[in-house]
Amino acid sequence: MLELQHIKKSYDGVTILQNIDLEIQDGEIVSILGPSGCGKTTLLNLILGITDVDEGHIFFDEEDITAVPMEKRGFNIVFQDYALFPNLNVYQNITYGLRNKPDISTKEEVDELIRLLGLEEHLKKKIEQLSGGQKQRVALARTMVMKPKILLLDEPLSALDGVIKESIKEKIKQIARDYHLTTIIVTHDPEEALTLSDKVLIINEGKISQFGTPEEIIAKPKNKFVKDFILNQLEIKRNNIFTLFQNDIRRNLQVVNV
């Protein structure tokens, strides 16, 4: 279980985050959702350990890890731009961590990951030859080889287009389920957050706006921000799609009538 208590963070006198209290259960997929500049990436960095907190504590499995350096926390991240190493091929990227910790994953486990993410045919390829979705899967595999205690994903879908997006979503869900892995995802897209995760953490102006399951958020928006920013956006999307399909339905009806 990951627990954040009274977290505060500011840069150069500007408060980015304050009063962050949060509990994330093992194996949960949690999305951190909010507009740009709300502090969600900072929160991710605090959990990962790139940045120090100003006030408050972070616990993992009852242990205070506030002062534990990034490398020792055992969490891992896939960055938005994947940060794959272009001088190494796909397989070398995936197994990069094994050069430092040869025993962390067995050959079978690595092969299983490669199979799960559908990368068998790309192993010898250079990074530049891959599409966005393939890069994302390689980055996921590379991170999973390290057997992270928590998997952090920074905007994992924002660089991908339509159909690929849905398939990566499925992969992320599958990994979290199969490995019983706590997964924290940063995103600015409400649809992504609400369809991908068990719980959604909505942040606005450095504070928690609402934390709950997608159903709770849709049914009981806690405040005006959640209503205006989150729900309104989804409503517009729904109406747009509905209009599109309505025409389709009408045409179908006409065909039947004739």
């Binding site: 790139i50 990034m70 490398e71 991240i77 731009d81 940060a83 190493f85 272009p86 001088n87």
Partner: protein, 546 residues
Amino acid sequence: MKRKEREIKIIYVYVLLVFAGFLAIPIIQLLLQSFRGDGAVGLSNYVEIISERGFLQALGNSVVVSLSAAVIATVLAFFLAYTIHYTNVNKKFKKLIRLLAVLPMLLPTITYGFAIIYSFGKQGLLTRLFGRQLFEIYGFWGLLFGYVIYTLPISFLLIFNTMGFIDKKFMVVSRVMGDKPFATFMQTVIRPLLGTLAASMVQCFFLSFTDYGIPASVGGKYEVVATVLYNEMLGSVPDFGRGAVVAMMMLIPSIISITLLHYLEKYNVRYNKISDVEIKKNYARDGVCSVVSVLILAVMLSIFAVIFVVPLVEEWPYRTNFTMEHVEAVLEDGSLFGVYKNSLFVAVCTSLLGLVTTYGAALATARSQLGQKWKGVIESIALITNTIPGMVIGIAFMLVFSGTSLQNTFLLIIVCNVVHFFSTPYLMMKNTLSKLNLSWETTAALMGDSWAKTIFRIVTPNMIPTILEVFSYYFVNAMVTVSAVIFIAGARTMVITTKIKELQYYTKFNEVFVLSLLILVTNLIVKGVLGFVINRKSKKAKKEKK
């Protein structure tokens, strides 16, 4: 939890120590020296120098001839760059212009001077061709000619690069909006180039003003600041106090130039996107541009022709049969060939040490979490090394290291070169490093890498083209530089350029040209081989992206 970055702090301290010991201390010593005269401390040296007619005359001469050279070089360079970017002349011809325009960079400036003497002098190659001497080579015209050749490549590169970043779609916009051709030209070519054109003039002025090689050979009785400085320090009656003052005076225009360059950066027009459009058909424009380009390059090449002709004939200008005897003589002469080996050694060591220093400094500024103030120190160092003329560094080194165990060592020459040429390769490194994905170090650290491992396994392999470019920059410059090393090369650490200066006294011009040829060939090989590798690497990367 921030990474501790112990390694980067060690590198940072190393960089700082190098520049404290080999830049700050010598320059401060030089400044102090300039106040020391006749047993007293004060402004007496300054008063003495400034009240002398000779010095003021030299200063005026320097300004006039450098300014003229700067304007001419920029105009000519613009023509060459324009022909490449804005005309429909043959692609192969464009490639040839690009290649030839930068050729002078591969030779020491002192060679240009001798080449001018042997082309336009009384017995010169071109004088014989034309049947009469075209102009008086010693003095203003010789200097002007030399400076223009010297600065043309630098100006060309500046303008050529900026032109590449101009969005040519604006030409179409201007035309469909009903602009007349001249208005289009001013609005879409000249206007976005204004900053660069001014910067080019400033840069050319600075280079001409501080060069020693050209006045050393064709200056004649036309005194410039560089020759005054040389005579004060190494002339028949050396006076270090006065020399230090002249060095300080040389620093002033340099500082003004660099300040101007920084100011001019604001005038650079930035386009969001660079698009290429088909250039309008215009045979008149293409014709004029080709002819002018050919003329510029032909004059330049005709001067360099003598470097090939003179040493390869029996006895210029009397017996003009082809012979290899002069070349062979140099190669067999242990002392001359030894000098060539010294130069090679210095150039390779300069490149390696320069590589380590610039790479380290750039890592500290581009990829560490050091505070802005600490990074600012390195940025200032880069700026200062860009400002200080080679002659000033050389003289400062001479004052500080004479009598120490470093005097007359290769190490001193190598460090001097590394410091002197630090600015450009450092910026090249920093640019590339800051473009590489900034999450690599974090990602690799999460996979158990130490920082050093990440640098060797991930960052360095992705830096190869830039590393090679920096190597070649340092190598070529170390081969051709004369202004600083002339003050610190000893009898046993003689490099080619200082040897050429010595050979001038004994009027051994065959040897001068053979040695120049050696420099040219060596630089061509190094640039050629490295350029080939760099090209292949970046082409490969581009292909894969498609």
